[in-house]
Amino acid sequence: MIDINHLANLANMKVSQEEGKKLENGFKESLKSVDLLNKIDTKGISSSFQVTSLKNIYRQDKVDHSRCLTQKQALSNAKKTYQGYFVVPYVFS
């Protein structure tokens, strides 16, 4: 059972009723083809979340100033700023 409104809410997407129906049908079709994977026995097989075999890549705990943005740069793409801060939408009603 796919609850499109719940998913839209979780994904923070606005979805009209008509679009929701289209998405739901698409999901059902995609998941049906994905069910093909049930044919493969994965008992005792580990998951490969990544393919590099790298583990725990550390760096010196030092600030790399070449990677830092100035406050002006950081704010340069923001639609609304206030005294050097980003203005964010209300979270609490």
Partner: protein
């Protein structure tokens, strides 16, 4: 031959001999863009500093000819896919959410190309957020295939592929999550090279599926793919997944494939392929044999399973990566997302959600392990794996509308290698109804040299990569 039609290698020779200047070369590309972009829709944004940068390159060439050692791509104009951040130059990933986004920093790939002296012409069209295999899913309209403008160029790096074959640039950069370099290269008739995952930095590339995203070149031949890869590959402290293995690539020289053991998975000649494409691939296999390669048919996991694994992993990673776009720090609010982005983000949200994680996401990652194990086993006995890149030639504009799994089907033959982080090349190997077909040559992780050598030897024997469309 016009200057914009040159390869990197021949353009470098001309610049060194002072037969022409970087300014001439850059102007020739910009003229071609002006002439053809209206129809092809390859470039979204042009670099207003291109000519100034070309003049600077000419000054460096005039001062010391040895500057080519310091700047290996000095004065060479190129196109960059619009998901690579370019400080001060609009970067949209072909998505209206980022319509007004001016990056405050640059991607490592762009920086390395700049440091190598290459001249950025502009940013190329792609499927929005790299979601797709057609470039039809761009929020700025589809790119047209220069071989036949009723057809798609492939994607997601379709703008880059089309720009190369239309001679709007000397080379281009794309990125691949599962086929997004090799498939548009195949459909547009250019050489596309996907290095091993972690060989080229993802820093400053707008993230799609972080466990497979791999930047790479789209070029006019294999030698050029080598020249670009040598510049962009290598460890980057800004991307912890990059390998610290030294890049020891040398220019491919071999004309023979004697001693090469090549595997042809029988499952890769899938039932969905048309007979003409199958025959072209069989002919390419024979060409490789004539060059001395020993080709054996093997069995690998049915690539239809790769579609399912890729669908789950890609949607899941996308749902996480696109969570950051809130329109507060940059870009427009989430209401600007197009249907396809919503589709992918929400399906990924579903497959990662409580109760479904094990059934979908974790199960897919286990099948991914099976694929990796199969490849590891194959590469114990073989140097390379070959097959078609895509089931057939470029499909018509409008084809994506009818099928929600359009992209996955077109990339079916390269998904498993992407999910396993392998390196692979697409080289033109023939034409069906005037549209190009690509041969994939895939190698184990970090086997870039072998793959490039084989591709180069093949291009010494055939001439499909030398053909150009009439635009």
């Amino acid at each position: 031959m016009k200057l914009n039609q040159l390869t990197i290698a021949s353009a470098l020779t001309g610049l060194k001999n002072k037969s022409f200047s970087s300014l001439d070369l850059t102007k020739a590309c910009l003229n071609q863009i002006e002439k053809t972009n209206k129809n092809l829709n390859t470039f979204l944004t042009l670099n207003p500093s291109a000519l100034t940068e070309a003049k600077r390159a000419d000054n460096l060439i005039k001062t010391f000819l040895t500057n080519f050692e310091k700047y290996p791509l000095l004065g060479i104009p190129y196109a960059l896919k619009d998901n690579f951040l370019t400080k001060g130059l609009r970067t949209t990933a072909s998505a209206k959410v980022l319509d007004n986004y001016i990056p405050q920093y640059s991607s490592t790939v762009y920086k390395r190309l700049k440091n190598a002296g290459a001249i950025l012409l502009g940013k190329t069209n792609m499927d929005a957020w790299a979601h797709g295999s057609s470039t039809e899913n761009s929020d700025y309209g589809p790119t047209k295939n220069p071989w036949n403008q009723n057809h798609l160029p492939g994607g997601s790096s379709g703008g880059s592929a089309a720009a190369v074959i239309a001679d709007q640039c000397i080379f281009a950069i794309g990125s691949e999550t599962a086929g997004s370099i090799r498939q548009p290269a195949a459909w547009s008739g250019v050489t596309g090279f996907k290095p091993t995952y972690g060989r080229v930095s993802r820093y400053g590339v707008i993230a799609m599926a972080s466990s497979t995203d791999s930047p790479g070149p789209l070029t006019k031949n294999v030698i050029d793919a080598f020249l670009v890869t040598k510049v962009i590959a290598g460890h980057d402290p800004k991307d912890a997944t990059t390998s610290s293995l030294k890049v020891n690539l040398t220019s491919p020289k071999t004309k023979s494939l004697k001693g090469f053991k090549i595997a042809l998975p029988k499952e890769y000649l899938i039932k969905e392929m048309d007979s003409q494409t199958t025959n072209i691939i069989k002919k390419a296999v024979n060409d490789l044999k004539k060059l001395g390669a020993k080709v054996e048919t093997i069995s690998l996991l049915d690539p239809h399973f790769a579609i399912s694994v890729y669908t789950i992993i890609q949607r899941s990673e996308v749902s996480s990566n696109l969570g950051r776009y809130d329109g507060v720090r940059y870009g427009h609010p989430r209401t600007y997302f197009s249907h396809e982005a919503k589709n992918r983000v929400m399906l990924g949200t579903y497959t990662l959600s409580t109760g479904y994680y094990d059934q979908y996401y974790n199960h897919s990652q286990k099948v991914r392990t099976i694929m990796i194990n199969e490849f590891n086993k194959t590469f114990k006995d073989f140097d390379l794996i070959i097959g078609p890149v895509s089931p057939g030639p470029a499909l018509k504009v409008g084809s994506t509308q009818k099928n929600p799994s359009f992209g996955e089907m077109q990339d079916i033959l390269v998904e498993a290698s992407s999910l396993s982080g392998l390196t692979g090349l697409s080289v033109p190997c023939g034409f069906v109804n005037g549209l190009p077909i690509g041969l994939q040559i895939t190698g184990d992780q970090f086997a870039e040299q072998l793959v490039l050598n084989a591709g180069h030897a093949y291009q010494q024997a055939i001439d499909h990569h030398l053909k150009r469309p009439t635009i």
